[in-house]
Structure formats: structure tokens, C-alpha cells
């Protein structure tokens, strides 16, 4: 399976309905001789949480900056919330790009007030309240009146997050939001992303921490060297990666013959059999149970995102190791996303990985 | 797209700024020559002699390219460059002249009975009674009239087209030395106001240069009644007021024995005078220019001395204390000295 195949299979198709929250059409950015982003087509469906993955220098930030209109693309066009002129959509967009930008001599609250003064959707009277709410939401209420100069890296990052959340947003773009955050901060960010998703906002979050993306995202886009290697719903991507059902059973022979009878492709594997093709999961489980096979457990066989990523990028060779670098303050998150346990007979075919 | 539009507007504004700067910086060339009824030189000179301009106020620009060496203690207006003189006159002998400099101003006021000279640099005012023959300094009306009268015998006088000076149409009166005159000067042009028949501009052109060696003319001129307060002077607080010595005004009395002799006439007139004798460095009156170190050494049958030459005039200061000067080449000076 080549990377191209995956990309074709996984291309996000928003289909009909509302305009995508963000769309890139042939986006390309060249700095001098360096191609930072090389012709990327991407659609982010409304309501999705898109994780943008890629090693440092893979073009994540440049792509985000072009989507937001901060950088002029060399070629191609970007669209935000259905607007080709991004500034018309930006009032509804909150963003934390390339680290938090604030003035060192102002307090956190004053910094946010200055930012809020420029927010079109805030009435002047609503500014103090919105600032206080945003500060509380990121857990900075206690340090609001200290100068930004004295903030720790994590506090700066939280303030930046607060700036993105001053107004209820239809789209929130977070570029490496957990940079410099301690485990508690990382958890807070994940909670906030979850809340945004629940309230219907679209979230684009870039990261080089695979586990973090796997834990919070419904969709992923994988970039390398300015190109999009894969993009799509996270669950779909993981399924298409290897796929199949893993049935834990002591009755291997009976199970194989039963499945052979309905034309399913199965083979012994693991603590039982692995079904790689055939009817849908509920049907298979029903068949096996009816045939008297003792089914202890049924797994949808899926790789971890890290495996998928390695698989995607190994095809071209020489991929920098991803997920191991950066801060390691994401304890035991990756293991949670280790495939979905399907309870006895009731199998949700496509639930995604969002918790 | 709006971005492109604004980028275009931005560059347009920047270009407009450059063009505007150019318009300010590059002086407007000779404007269209105004159409005026023809007039003969004699008529023009005669009308200038008879005219009385009435009250006026304006600014005169002196453009000096004489190439005078820098003389310590001399007014800034003598050095090369342009300087402004502001003039107000009520037309009946009362007037005010301001000589602004970068740091201060000299002001001359005549209220009809008393003339004041105020210097802002040292805050002194010199007062003296006005006598009937007092000439207003640097008044182009008077200086041009005098020049015409003096030069008519040895010059060709003609009217050469028209010009616009200080926004007013004017005839260009041209005085050209006769070919027999041995002078450094090529021609003298005087722009005469077509209506008021007042000289508005005096231009002196020397041989060998297309640009004027000296030009004095109005850049701004309005005829009409002037604020009477301009023609009075009350010494401001903190001013030292002195009375000028009788006779030569504020300048120190000229020492005895320096009555000048005039050699030749017309354009090649040379004035020979005797400089004050004695130790010059000590006797030199305060404020007077020190000429002893200027120029280049020259010598001849007449003796030896130092030659000071400018675009329109030359002077020789001999070691035995004589001074010869005129709008002539060096040779004419030495001939005059050899007499």
C-alpha cells in the first residue's frame, strides 16, 4: 500500500451541506528556493476537529498562516467559513499561531483587553466580561494582573489560548497549543478542544505529538515536506490502514469453516482468527455465535496513529522520527486510542475515536 | 481584489509625494513671458526716473555668486548664496528693512525723523537723526535707477523682451557695455515693472558664465498701504541704545588721507584709494573686515600686493597701503596703480 493510495482513499469529502469551515485549493508557498507548502488541497468539514500532523518544517504553520490570510500564497487560494476573503470570516475565527504574542510590559488582563478592543464581535461594554471569562477558562484568573513578562512558558501559552477564545468562535485554529504546557495544561487544552467540538465549533490543531492528535481529533491531515500525505476522518484512516476484525476464540477451526461458508476471508492469527474481508462486523459475530463458536472478544483491528504515520511516511523513506520528540508530558494517552473494544454483539461500526 | 487596490493606492500616494517634492524642490523655470505693449528703452528709462511707487512691502532675494572670499566680521549677505531682505516702505521716506539671518536679524527702521539699527544678536540699537539725503539701503528702486544713470554713456541700452518677477509682468531692460570697455561684466539686466515702472530685479552677468554673478530682485511684492506700526521703533527691554556718531552713520569715522581717486570712466572705472596707515592689526576698527590675509600675491612695476578677484570685480591691495578696485581684469588695475 503506497502513500498515494492512502491519500486517495482518505481524501476528505465534505459532500453537500454547508461550506467547509476551511478549504485550501492548490495552496503553494515558496520562500526563495524553499518550497514550504507544495500545492495542498484540503477541506475541513464544519464541526470537525482536524489534527494537522507533521514533523517540524513540514509546512503545518505555513499552511495555517495561508488559511488565515497572514501569508500570501504563491499560488492557489484559501477559504474560511465559505469566504474567499478571509478578513470577512476572521471575526468568527480564533487563532493561536506561532506562539502567543503579547506585550511584556502589560499584564495578562491588559494584553487581552487590547486584543479584545480589536474584536469586531465584542461590544465595548462586553469587553471586560469577555476577558475575565476567557482568563478563567484557561485557568489564568489568579495571574491576570501580573505582567506578561513574568509569565512562565505555560502561562503564556494559556494566555494565547484565552486570546483565541475571547468570542464564541465558529472556527478555532491552534498551532502547537500544548507547547510548553505541563501535563495538567495539556489535559486542559484537550478539555477545551472537547468543549469547542461539543458546542459545534470546528477546530484545527497542529501538533507533532501523535498521541495528542489521536486523543482529541476526528480528522487528521498528515504533512511532510510541504505535501499532504493523507487526510480524512481519523477512524477511516486507521481502518484503511490495516483493517479487519480480530476475534479471540479457542474454536479456530470451527470459526474458519463457518466464515468460509459465507465467503469471508479469514485466517488464524493472534489469540484466535483475523477476518480481513466479508460481511459487516455484527453479521460476522452473529454467524459465529449461531455456529456455536465461543467468542471472547472482538476487536476492530486498527493500528495506532503512530504506526499509520510510520507506514505513510516510510514509503518515501527517510522520515524523521515523530512523536518521540517534543515534550513528553502526555502520559498514557496513546494507549487509550488503541482500537475500539467492541462489546459482544453490539458493534458500532464507525464511532470515531472521540471520547 | 481589495489588497491589490490598496497596494496600488499606496504606491500611487508615494509617487505623488515624490512628484510633489520635486515640484517644491525644482524651482519653476522661466514662466511664460507676459505679453506687453512694446516700449522703447528711452521711454522705459525715463519712466523709471520719474516714477514714485508709493507704499509697498515685499521680500527681496539676493543671489550672490560673486565669489567673494569669506571675510570674518562681514555680514552674511556678502558671502556666496542666497539671502532674503524684507522691505517695507510707506512711500514717503519712512521704511523698514530686515536682514534675517539663520540665528538672528538686523533691522533698520526709519520713522521719518530718526533711523534705528537694531541687531538681535547683541541686542543693541543705534539711533541717529535722519537727514534729507539719507538713502534707503538695499532698495532696488534706487540702486537700479542709479545704475542706469551712470552707465548710459558707455553702454547700449535696449529692451529685451518681458519677464515675470514676483508675479508681476515686467520689461527687461538690458545694459550692455560698449565693446571698447574693458570690463569683466557681460551685461546688466533690469526687470522693470510694467505698471509701476519700478525696477523689480537687477541681474549682473559676467563674462564666461551663463549664470548670473549677482542678482537681486523681489520674490514677493505688494503695493498698497502698509501697517504704520512697521515704521516706528521702540527699543525693546534689555536693549543697549547708543547714538550714532555724526556724519557717516553707524560705521566708524573714516580715517584721514584716504580720499579715493577715480581712474577711467564707464564700465572700466578703477577706484584707487589709500588704506589706513600703521599697524593694521591693531588699528583696525572693531567689526571691520580684515583684508590683510586675503587674495593671492602679485607684483609688477607698480610694486607688489595681493590680488582679490571675484566674478565681477577685482581689487589689489598693495603692500604700501594702496587699494585699487573695479569691475575690470587685473591688468586694468595694475595700469591704474602704475599711473
Amino acid at each position: 500500500m503506497t502513500a498515494v493510495d492512502v491519500r486517495e482513499a482518505a481524501r476528505v469529502t465534505s459532500g453537500s451541506g454547508p461550506a467547509p469551515a476551511a478549504r485550501a485549493v492548490g495552496l503553494r508557498k515558496v520562500y526563495g528556493r524553499t518550497v514550504a507548502v507544495d500545492g495542498i488541497d484540503l477541506e475541513v468539514p464544519t464541526g470537525a476537529v482536524l489534527g494537522m500532523l507533521g514533523p517540524n518544517g513540514s509546512g503545518k504553520t505555513t499552511l495555517i498562516r495561508m488559511l488565515l490570510g497572514l501569508t500570501r500564497p504563491t499560488a492557489g487560494s484559501a477559504e474560511l467559513l465559505g469566504e474567499t476573503e478571509q478578513t470577512r470570516a476572521l471575526p468568527h475565527v480564533g487563532a493561536l499561531v506561532e506562539g502567543p504574542g503579547f506585550h511584556p510590559f502589560l499584564s495578562g488582563r491588559e494584553n487581552l483587553r487590547r486584543a479584545a478592543a480589536a474584536e469586531p464581535l465584542l461590544t465595548s461594554g462586553a469587553i471586560p466580561g469577555a476577558v475575565d471569562t476567557a482568563l478563567e477558562r484557561v485557568g489564568l484568573g489568579h495571574a491576570a494582573d501580573r505582567r506578561f513578562r513574568g509569565y512562565s512558558l505555560g502561562m503564556k501559552q494559556r494566555l494565547g489560548l484565552a486570546g483565541a477564545l475571547l468570542v464564541p468562535r465558529r472556527l478555532v485554529v491552534l498551532d502547537e497549543p500544548t507547547n510548553g504546557l505541563d501535563p495538567a495544561g495539556t489535559r486542559d487544552v484537550r478539555t477545551i478542544i472537547g468543549e469547542l467540538h461539543e458546542s459545534g465549533s470546528t477546530v484545527i490543531v497542529s501538533s507533532h505529538l501523535l498521541a495528542e492528535v489521536e486523543a482529541t481529533c476526528t480528522h487528521v491531515a498528515v504533512l511532510r515536506s510541504g505535501s499532504l500525505l493523507a487526510a480524512g476522518a481519523l477512524s477511516g484512516l486507521l481502518d484503511s490502514g490495516i483493517g479487519g476484525l480480530e476475534v479471540t476464540t479457542p474454536d479456530v477451526g470451527l470459526a474458519l469453516s463457518t466464515l468460509d461458508g459465507v465467503g469471508a476471508v479469514a485466517a488464524p492469527g493472534g489469540p484466535g482468527i483475523v477476518v480481513t474481508d466479508g460481511p459487516e462486523a455484527p453479521e460476522i459475530v452473529a454467524l459465529l455465535v449461531r455456529a456455536g463458536v465461543a467468542v471472547h472478544e472482538v476487536h476492530r483491528r486498527r493500528p495506532r496513529l503512530e504506526e499509520l504515520f510510520a507506514q505513510l511516511t516510510e514509503g518515501d523513506g527517510g522520515v524523521p522520527s515523530i512523536g518521540t520528540e517534543g515534550d513528553s508530558g502526555v502520559p498514557s494517552i496513546g494507549t487509550e486510542g488503541d482500537g475500539e473494544t467492541i462489546g459482544s454483539a453490539t458493534i458500532g461500526s464507525e464511532k470515531g475515536v472521540r471520547r | 481584489m481589495r489588497t491589490k487596490l490598496w497596494a496600488r493606492i499606496g504606491s500611487g500616494v508615494a509617487v505623488a509625494g515624490v512628484v510633489g517634492l520635486g515640484l517644491v524642490a525644482i524651482p519653476a523655470g522661466a514662466g511664460a513671458q507676459p505679453e506687453l505693449p512694446p516700449v522703447s528703452a528711452e521711454e522705459l528709462v525715463a519712466s523709471v526716473g520719474q516714477t514714485s511707487p508709493g507704499p509697498f512691502g515685499g521680500t527681496v532675494e539676493v543671489d550672490n555668486a560673486l565669489g567673494l572670499p569669506a571675510i570674518p566680521g562681514a555680514p552674511a549677505q556678502l558671502a556666496n548664496g542666497t539671502s532674503d531682505v524684507r522691505i517695507w516702505s510707506d512711500g514717503t521716506g519712512r521704511g523698514r528693512v530686515s536682514l534675517p539671518s539663520a540665528q538672528g536679524e538686523r533691522t533698520l527702521v526709519s520713522d521719518g525723523t530718526t533711523a534705528w539699527a537694531y541687531d538681535s544678536e547683541d541686542r543693541t540699537a543705534v539711533r541717529k537723526p535722519v537727514t534729507a539725503h539719507e538713502v534707503q539701503p538695499a532698495d532696488p528702486t534706487r540702486s537700479a535707477t542709479d545704475a542706469i544713470a551712470q552707465l548710459r554713456q558707455t553702454s547700449t541700452v535696449s529692451v529685451d523682451g518681458t519677464a515675470e518677477v514676483a508675479g508681476r509682468p515686467a520689461y527687461e531692460l538690458v545694459l550692455t557695455p560698449n565693446p571698447t570697455e574693458r570690463t569683466l561684466l557681460r551685461e546688466v539686466r533690469i526687470a522693470v515693472d510694467a505698471e509701476k515702472r519700478v525696477p523689480l530685479r537687477l541681474t549682473v552677468l559676467a563674462n564666461g558664465s551663463p549664470d548670473p554673478a549677482f542678482e537681486v530682485g523681489f520674490t514677493d511684492l505688494t503695493f498698497g498701504p502698509q501697517d504704520p506700526a512697521l515704521f516706528t521703533f521702540t527699543p525693546p527691554p534689555g536693549t543697549t541704545v547708543t547714538d550714532a556718531p555724526e556724519g557717516t552713520g553707524e560705521k566708524p569715522q573714516r580715517p584721514e588721507g584716504v580720499q579715493p581717486t577715480v581712474v577711467g570712466d564707464g564700465w572700466d572705472t578703477v577706484v584707487v584709494a589709500r588704506a589706513p596707515q600703521g599697524d593694521r592689526s591693531q588699528q583696525r576698527p572693531e567689526g571691520a573686515p580684515d583684508l590683510s590675509q586675503l587674495g593671492t600675491p602679485v607684483s609688477g612695476p607698480w610694486g607688489s600686493g595681493r590680488l582679490i578677484s571675484t566674478a565681477v570685480a577685482s581689487a589689489i591691495v598693495t603692500d604700501d597701503g594702496r587699494i585699487a578696485a573695479g569691475a575690470v581684469p587685473e591688468q586694468v588695475l595694475t595700469e591704474a596703480l602704475a599711473r
Partner: protein, 282 residues
């Protein structure tokens, strides 16, 4: 989330009110420590000149010399003195912080994402720079008048002009105001050009160095006699015109022409800034 949603219901607009942006900019400018320090130092200039004149106690040449016993000349002399270097540098500093400094802090990005349109951003920033320049000029003028009256003193609060006439206090202050407005016009030109440099770089010091270098270059160029023809192009060549406010009647020619020149420089600077900001990455 819901709490925010309730308090933040604003009208559907795509730009914050201009007045609010300008007010936020002014508040930001005056919260900046270096702005306040600069203004404090500017307040010292007329005081130092006043003390110097009183201690020296004699009429010297030039504008400073004209201050002695003539207190209302002090603000004009101090403004002329400061215009030579300090006021342009303070203006350049404000312009440096306005775009290059904001870019360096990453706050320019925030403003553009709010969004503040790029043209509007240039307008807001130019306004901020002008406010700093005006504050600096005002400080020198007001402290100058006070120090002039208190430290130097003058006869009956009058102003003695260079032409030897005497003006009443009101007219004297009006002359100071005239010079202040004229100086502000010159600083607007400096600020606009500095803003253009600021839009081209992310390093505030580059802006300061450019303006300082420009002032020095203009000074050198105007000192070379062979380059006389260049004079009318140089912004600095009219910077002694404040002396004309001390003449009677007041001579407006030099101040007028230098103001026109300053406006041309301001147009060039602002034009470049607008053009550059349209394509600048933030």
C-alpha cells in the same frame, strides 16, 4: 461558554469601531514605559536650557542667546534644539514599536487576525506615532513656557522678537503654538518615513538606525557646497525655520515651504507603508 455567548452578543460586523481601536492604541502607547521615560526626558530639555542661560548670564549668539531675559523664546529655542535629533529619534522609536516592534512580539499577527484591516492598521499606527510626537512637542512647549517664565523670566511676560519689537504674552504664546504645530508637521514626515521602514523590518532597532542614519546623511549632504541643488529635496534643510516665528511681522515662507516638503515626505512614507502592509507576512 454560554456565559461568554450571552455577554458577547455584538452586532454582526467585520471591523471593530475605529474610535475604540484608536483609544486602545493611545492607551497602549502611553502604557509603554519607554514612551513615558522619553517624555520625562523631553521635559528636562527646556529646564536645562533655562538653567544654562541663567547661569551663563550673557547674550550669546543664536537662538539660545536670544533666550536670555526673554523667557517666551525658550520653548521655541528648545523645540528647535530638540528637532535637530531628539524629537525625530523619539518619533522613530514610536514608529519602530508600531509595526516592527509589534511584529517582533507577535502581536501584529493578533491584530490582523482580529481582524483589523491592513489599511486601517496603518491608519491606527500612524495616529499612534503622531500622538507620541504631539505629546513630546507639547511637553517641550508647555515646560518651555513655564521654565521660561519662572526660571528665565521676561519683562511683563512679553516676548521680544528678533526684529526688535515686543509682543504681549498672548501673542507670544501663539508664536510658540505656531512653532509647535510646525514642528509636529516635520515630525509627521519623520514618523511616516520611519513607519515605512518599520513595515519593512521586524527589528525595531533597524528603524532607529535608519532614521539616525538618514539624519546624518542629510546633514552631510547639506554641508557639501557642490550639492547645493540637493537642498530643497532634504527634509532637514528647513529645520531652522522656527527662527522665523520670532520675526515681526512673522515670516511664514520658510515654515510654509518646509511644511509642504514635510507633507510630501509624509505621503511617500505612508504610501510605502500602505503598499508594503498589503503584502507583508505577519
Amino acid at each position: 461558554m454560554t456565559a461568554v455567548a450571552e455577554t458577547a452578543v455584538g452586532p454582526e460586523r467585520t471591523a471593530a469601531p475605529l474610535g475604540r481601536l484608536l483609544a486602545a492604541e493611545v492607551r497602549w502607547v502611553f502604557r509603554r514605559p519607554r514612551t513615558l521615560i522619553t517624555l520625562g526626558l523631553f521635559a528636562l530639555i527646556p529646564v536645562l536650557v533655562a538653567v544654562g542661560v541663567v547661569v551663563a548670564d550673557r547674550n550669546g549668539p543664536g537662538l539660545i542667546g536670544a533666550v536670555a531675559g526673554n523667557g517666551l523664546v525658550l520653548p521655541i529655542a528648545a523645540l528647535t534644539l530638540a528637532l535637530a535629533l531628539l524629537l525625530p529619534l523619539a518619533t522613530a522609536m514610536a514608529a519602530a514599536d508600531a509595526l516592527a516592534g509589534e511584529a517582533a512580539h507577535g502581536t501584529l499577527r493578533g491584530l490582523l487576525l482580529a481582524p483589523v484591516s491592513r489599511v486601517r492598521l496603518v491608519g491606527v499606527k500612524a495616529f499612534g506615532v503622531l500622538v507620541v510626537a504631539a505629546a513630546a512637542v507639547l511637553v517641550i512647549a508647555v515646560v518651555g513656557v513655564l521654565a521660561g517664565m519662572v526660571v528665565v523670566g521676561s519683562a511683563d511676560g512679553q516676548m521680544v522678537t528678533l526684529s526688535g519689537t515686543t509682543l504681549g504674552f498672548g501673542e507670544g504664546v501663539a508664536r510658540v503654538g505656531l512653532v509647535a504645530v510646525w514642528v509636529l508637521g516635520q515630525l509627521a514626515a519623520v514618523g511616516a518615513v520611519a513607519l515605512a521602514v518599520s513595515s519593512l523590518t521586524e527589528h525595531p532597532l533597524v528603524v532607529l538606525a535608519s532614521v539616525l542614519g538618514g539624519l546624518i546623511a542629510f546633514g552631510v549632504l547639506s554641508a557639501i557646497p557642490a550639492l547645493d541643488w540637493l537642498q530643497p529635496w532634504l527634509l532637514t534643510s528647513g529645520w531652522t525655520a522656527a527662527t522665523d516665528a520670532l520675526r515681526d511681522p512673522v515670516a511664514l515662507d520658510a515654515m510654509g515651504s518646509s511644511t509642504v516638503r514635510a507633507l510630501c515626505y509624509a505621503a511617500i512614507g505612508l504610501g510605502i507603508t500602505v503598499w508594503r502592509m498589503q503584502r507583508r507576512d505577519a
